[in-house]
């Protein structure tokens, strides 16, 4: 029987309860770093994975092609590749395409190919258009799956141990200022190439440890906005939610975090009037975008500037530790302190963010939310 990498295998009724490992860092000054460091972070979190999925996202990786969308695909065979290519040629300009160099340490393995594409300058909303292209490829072209579709970033992921996935994609060849890493311990869906983390849409990438029990609600909500949740994997909705909230609805990252992990109503009643109104509004308007269940996530994105976000569920059912390097230039976020200390050359401080409150760091700006207190709405947003 032919193996498909781009299609999820049949589900079995086998639930395992354990944890994934997540780690990531951002160089605030934009210094480019190879994938060696994030691989070393993941190596400490080995007890959190079971060899059924690993993946990485890197930002700042195509400085010479940063205005082009980079669509990286996982392909079953050359027929799928041809089909994708034919489709892409009809809708966008392919400026450059190349085979992603891979090692032969994993076999069988899919073909990994990437296309640097441009859209017509007349296009009123190129981002929306690319989302449609990704949704079309994932749902209509058999044997093809879109790993990532953002500008100046790319996702590497697959079925295997995180260290083997790093070797397979040879991530030491790539350099970026922001890296995310994930080692998977699948609980509700099988381990397969597309189901590994990070999940991506445009430049939004998410790695996740936990279980989004509100998946059904979130999925139906996202479908109203044109997203197709095809992977039956909870983390997918998180990537689409951040895209919807911060890009389409133009909310700040802090606001988006306050929507996916909102305060409880009894916490809201303890707030001042202005904040009460804002948080009630958010809960009422975005009830279906709230994430329920245990999670700790890292989100990477490019806009308005490259940023890393670390967030846990409001009851703190999954671990998340943040660290700042001694020179105050590198922000680390990970499941465990050991992963941070393993790679850091001196640590200024290590802290455990408050449950449901994000740690956010932006390129060039530094930490804009430490994750201590839930009160950080943008200054110009005044409630009445």
């Amino acid at each position: 029987m032919k193996i498909s990498f781009a299609n999820m295998p049949e589900r079995k009724d086998d639930k395992i309860f354990d944890a994934c490992g997540i780690a990531g860092f951002l160089n605030i000054d934009g210094k480019l770093e190879s994938g060696v460091k994030v691989k070393r972070m993941m190596s400490v979190l080995k007890d959190r994975e079971n060899g059924l999925g690993g993946g990485y996202a890197v930002y700042g990786v195509w400085p010479n092609l940063q205005d082009l969308y980079c669509i990286q695909l996982l392909l079953d065979d050359l027929i799928a590749k041809n089909n994708v290519e034919e489709y892409l040629k009809t809708v966008v300009d392919i400026i450059k395409d190349e085979k992603c160099p891979v090692s032969n340490n994993i076999s069988p393995a899919p073909i990994i190919w990437r296309y640097f594409i441009d859209v017509s300058p007349k296009m009123s909303n190129p981002d929306d258009f690319i989302v449609d292209v990704v949704m079309y490829i994932n749902s209509e072209i058999n044997g093809a799956f879109c790993l990532s579709s953002g500008k100046n970033m790319v996702v590497f992921k697959g079925n295997g141990w995180s260290a083997d996935i790093a070797d397979f994609y040879q991530i030491e060849r790539y350099k970026g200022y922001l890296w995310l890493g994930h080692s998977r311990f699948p609980t509700n869906t099988p381990g397969w190439w597309g189901g590994a983390h990070p999940f991506n849409i445009l430049d939004y990438s998410v790695v996740h440890n936990g279980e989004i029990t509100s998946y059904g609600t979130n999925k139906r909500y996202l479908e109203m906005w044109g997203y197709k949740c095809r992977l039956l994997t909870d983390t997918e909705v998180v990537a689409y939610l951040f895209d919807l909230l911060t890009r389409k609805h133009r909310l700040s990252k802090l606001m988006a975090c306050n929507i996916v992990a909102p305060p409880y109503y009894d916490e809201i009643t303890r707030m001042t009037n202005g904040y009460q109104n804002i948080f009630k509004l958010l809960r009422v308007n975005y009830g279906s975008a709230m994430l329920n269940g245990p999670f700790s996530i890292l989100v990477g994105c490019n806009r308005p500037v490259p940023s890393i976000i670390g967030l846990t569920d409001r009851k703190k059912l999954r671990p998340l530790i943040a660290g700042l390097s001694e020179d105050q230039n590198i922000v680390y976020i990970s499941s465990e302190e050991s992963a941070i200390k393993h790679v850091a050359n001196g640590i200024e401080r290590i802290w455990e963010p408050t449950a449901g409150v994000p740690v956010i760091a932006e390129l060039g700006k530094g930490i804009i939310s430490v994750g201590n207190q839930r009160n950080l709405l943008p200054m110009n947003f005044q409630g009445s």
Partner: protein, 270 residues
């Protein structure tokens, strides 16, 4: 009778080989080997996230074993431990003292979430702050009374579903070798679902922070007698002036009933 060797020098184990952290299995087997060879004082260097350190390690009070940990010990430090003393020269990770039976864990930095879960006996002293759900499901039986002291802040669900033992939060702030008090060091959902044991908080506890099924009291004479030796031990371990601790008064949180959630699961509360 076999005579057991007793070696009173420190035996050092490096938790890395060629800069790569050893697996937790390897590290634990080295510890076991060292104990079997009669070592009583064992120093672990460069620990990096290895789980289950000291798992199931046993010793008697007369013949103590001490483990000193440098680096970051991973989850489940001292799990099922029965007797030894573990000193962490820095921060610990999640779930320290998981289901431990007796012995002492001393953390000279912070500890993270779920420390002392299902603890059956022994003591945990954390100099600094702690994460969420400290002492969850901790229980006592006759003279087996587990004790956890958190020196600094404790986050939400402190003593959640607690069934026995003693849990203490002091709210001490350490900064540049100076000691002061945190303004707010306790969080909401305190002792949510508690149905046994006692929690002592050094300072006022806001009513809306109290979890389901809790009762707040001032200290009785008996409480003082329970607290005094524990506070003394904490202060001696971390070299702190005891008088400073007693400058603020404590409050006690105890269960209001044996079945705080009875109304949720039965037609009529019992």
């Amino acid at each position: 009778m076999l005579e057991t060797k007793k070696i009173s020098d420190w035996h050092t184990i490096n938790a890395r080989k060629d800069k790569t952290p050893l697996s937790y299995k390897k590290l634990n087997s080295l510890i076991k080997e060292s104990v079997n060879n009669g070592h009583k004082l064992i120093k672990l260097l460069d620990v990096c996230g290895q789980r289950f350190i000291g798992a199931g390690l046993e010793c008697s009070e007369k013949d103590p074993i001490e483990l000193e940990i440098h680096g970051v010990p991973g989850n489940d430090l001292g799990i099922f431990m029965d007797g030894p003393k573990i000193i962490v020269k820095g921060n610990a990770e999640d779930q320290i003292g998981n289901t431990m039976n007796s012995g002492t864990i001393i953390v000279e930095g912070d500890c993270r979430d779920v420390a002392g879960l299902s603890m059956r006996g022994g003591k945990i002293f954390v100099k600094g702050n702690a994460g969420y759900r400290i002492g969850i499901h901790m229980k006592e039986y006759q003279d087996q009374i587990p004790i956890i002291v958190i020196g600094g802040k404790a986050k939400e669900f402190f003593g959640e579903y607690m069934a026995g033992g003693i849990l203490i939060a002091l709210g001490l702030k350490y900064e540049n070798s100076k000691i002061s008090n945190f303004e707010n060091f306790i969080s909401p959902n305190l002792a949510s679902g508690i149905h046994g044991g006692k929690i002592y908080i050094r300072g006022e506890v806001p009513e809306n922070y109290l979890g389901i099924g809790t009762v707040k009291n001032t200290l009785s004479e008996e409480d003082h007698q329970i607290l005094q030796p524990i506070i003394k031990e904490y202060c001696e371990i971390f070299n702190i002036n005891q008088e400073f601790i007693w400058e603020k008064s404590f409050y006690k949180i105890i269960p209001g009933s044996h079945r705080p959630y009875a109304a949720y699961y039965t037609a009529k509360p019992i």
